[in-house]
């Protein structure tokens, strides 16, 4: 979405648009990086559901994970990749275009 001549609808991304994935992207875009359990709590979804959506986003190259040990337990931290951030912003632009049309 760098050119004014580009159709904003080109940014519409069905990978991101699935409700839980859109919410994951919104959370990670705002928080920068968040622990898996925090994302789960914020979205009020089970670990397996979140894991499934995170896998889809990771396969698309939109989310990356980092493992860190805390209190002797391994924690997973999630963050948007640069590509994921751009795709999410482009998707929001497409949604706003639809609302405004």
């Amino acid at each position: 979405m760098t050119s004014a001549a580009t159709d904003p609808m080109d940014g519409f991304d069905t990978t991101i648009h699935a409700p839980n994935r859109l919410r994951i992207c919104a959370l990670l875009d705002t928080a920068g990086e968040a622990e898996f359990s925090v994302v789960q709590r914020q979205l009020d979804v089970s670990a397996s559901v979140l894991s499934k959506h995170v896998t889809v986003l990771m396969e698309a190259g939109y989310v990356e994970q980092r493992k860190a040990v805390r209190d002797t337990r391994q924690r997973v931290w999630l963050r948007l990749t640069r590509q994921g951030r751009e795709a999410y912003q482009a998707h929001l632009t497409a949604l706003r275009t639809i609302v405004g049309s």
């Binding site: 159709d7 519409f12 069905t14 919410r23 919104a26 959370l27 705002t30 914020q42 963050r79 639809i98």
Partner: protein, 165 residues
Amino acid sequence: METNGHAFRPTPQQARAALADTEQVRASAAALSATPWPRWFAITLALFIAAIPPVYGGLLADPQWLLPGPVWGVIMLVMTAGYLALYGVAAANWRKKTGVALRLDVLPKRAVVPLAIGLPALLLGGPHAFRATGEPLWLFAASAAGAAVSIGFHLTFVRLHRKAS
């Protein structure tokens, strides 16, 4: 990557609902990011800021003020190292507690930009005014104002966090 805006297009109502949903999540995440520092670190930060003008003033003083210049230099180094160590502990604990990344861009720019310019000017300006006039009141005024700004920002974070939660 499933990017195909023309094959599937939500209605304006669906798009509006999706945007409202993201806004709700964004607000909730922003509340987490605005979690204030623990009180012990807010006090540490205020004390560190309050200590800068007199110590820097002592460093600049010519002739020396209370202590020789190099001693003030050592005091500055020790207190800065101590502050940075405590900052590391506080930041690690903050991340553990909140589960999100520590961000310094949570407050609006209209508040952060004046702080980023005004606080260094205050902390460095006081000692320079002291050096020029020999009047220690400049140091204590800068010290009190710096501590007040630090506490004010902490209380702003507390209010922002409560409001957003």
